[in-house]
Amino acid sequence: MRTFRLTWRLPIARAALTVLAAVAVLALFGHQLAPQDPLAQDSAHILRGPGGAHLLGTDYLGRDVLSRLLAGTGLTVAGALEAVGAAMALGIVPGLASLWLGRFFEWSALRAVDALMTMPFTLFAIAAVGVLGNGLHQAMLALGVLLSPLFFRVTRAAALGLRQAPYVEAAELMGASRSRVLRTHIWSKVLPTVAVTTAQALATSLLTVASLTFLGLGVQPPAPTWGGMLATDLGYLGQQPWAPVLPGALIMLTVGALHLLADAVRDSGGASAGFAGAPEGGTAAAAAATGTTVRPAAAADAGAADPATAEPTAVQDREGRTNARISA
């Protein structure tokens, strides 16, 4: 929880969250907010620039661009969320199971993850659509399968850390109850990491949804989506070279906010790289703290061990040197 509190203090994280909240509002209420019917065509006003009745202009069928953008948010975001949800479901459970279900399962799961990671997202989603039928659900489930290794790895690493972390053992020795240790560990280590991964996965799947809808896969044409709008705008670059900027900017803004958020969470907490590291610093500090008092003991050891093997003068010599360490 501390990580999230620290994250919230970063201005950049607040900005990112604000953008994401705005996108969420658009996704939920985009249809209601749209000033006009996003599907209504108006052959009298095609490819109009911004202004007048159409705040952001019209497309090649005379449809209101602003309304289409607002209404298109929902489908795009819902698709991305569906994929990430599927990825979590498919990644987390095997990730945990891989540690407890024996070596064969672990080996197969790891190889399967490797195999999934060689598959390109968009191509696999296209294949899924081609084989299973043209629908956003098919594509998003396929994407979820490909994203699941992210969550598999994160969960596995976190669980491994839990199993091996010395501080868990230490806490238990000091009388903390197991559930308390687990709770602290999950709050402080696992959740931030999962949050980072989720943000990154959302960004990736948002881009993939945009790509697919750009290609005309997953949704039927009249329904507005960000990617679909980009695709239609591309046909009229000559007349409206600035048109792709709007949906493009929306995609970039959302993806950028997700990336920034992920970075902010990672920076403000020990997300991911956090399970190892203490021992060296610890011993060094201990050595520094004891500094002067350690020395005579070491000298005595050297004196006790050496005489058997070397002549007395040599012993004395080394003894002197061992003893003459001045600084700690």
Binding site: A314, D317, G320, R321, N323, A324, I326
Partner: protein
Amino acid sequence: MPASPRDTDGAPGRGDLTAAPPSAAREDVLAVDGLHITVSGGRTEAVRDVSFTVRAGESVGLVGESGSGKTLTCRSVLGVLPPGCSVSAGAATLAGTDLTALDRRGWERLRGVRLGAVFQDPASYLNPSLTVGRQLAEPLRVRKGLSRADAHRRAVELLGAVGLHEPAEVYHRYPFELSGGMLQRVLIATAIAGDPDLLVADEATTALDTVVQAEVLDVLARLRAERGLALLLVSHDLAVVAEVCDRVLVFYAGEIVEDGPTEQVLAAPAHPYTEALLRVASIGDWQRRELAVIPGRPPEAGAAPPGCRFAPRCAHAAAACTATPTLALTDAGPGRRTRCVRAAELDLTGAAPQEVTA
């Protein structure tokens, strides 16, 4: 590994290593004059008014606690001061070249050929992903223009010269495959590859265990005798300095507090801090070993207490010690200097000379 993990080439049968070459009229290889070094971007002064010279073939030891400025001094001579540290005043001259005015190119021309260096933790100073031989041969090819074959042959020779067994075999080893003592020998070999005038050894034996330490010191002493190499040895270990150096400079809180021939300084220190160091170290004195520490702590870095900086910890401190804002380094006999106002009146105890050279 075919070679033994630790180099144990016989007992350290050293001769009289501290015997200074008799002539005192040779030219200065290194002259440091009034050097001031600031740290943390110029805000604090960590080294104040350090002056000394190293003559050709001479071996000079810088000794003191960590933070006393000895390592900063030697790093400024090498041109590798850590970020944020800089020479704020004074000069260092290496055989006529002003080191403080050198640019990057100038340093590149100087290093390896006229200036070599060995450091603590030799493993970290070698590239972990190249064989030691390749790293040794590279400057030979680049700087000396040797052919591949010649550089290889010369590198193997050098590895042999620093006392490594089966040098041709060691040539193909990666740093992690060698022990600390062997690595320090390799580092010494790279440092002397270009036949420099001056070798700077910064805590070069600190991380090694005592047997290996003795062997490495042996190598340094031998190279010095063979090649007329001047040696600037930095150590917190008075025993190491006593063994190898003709002259010793004692650093305390960024200043030189005593300077003189090793034997004289050890036998009759002219500064109470040296006396305290000797008592703690109790060099060679097996019987008199005691759990001695110097009471108190050195002043914080950058703090400049008036007068003698050691006064608060000094057993002989008097009012005169802190009366003047700064203390000058004054002559205390032939070839000796001290930064103690009471040097003349004090009779400080040193280590018995025969024990020191034992």
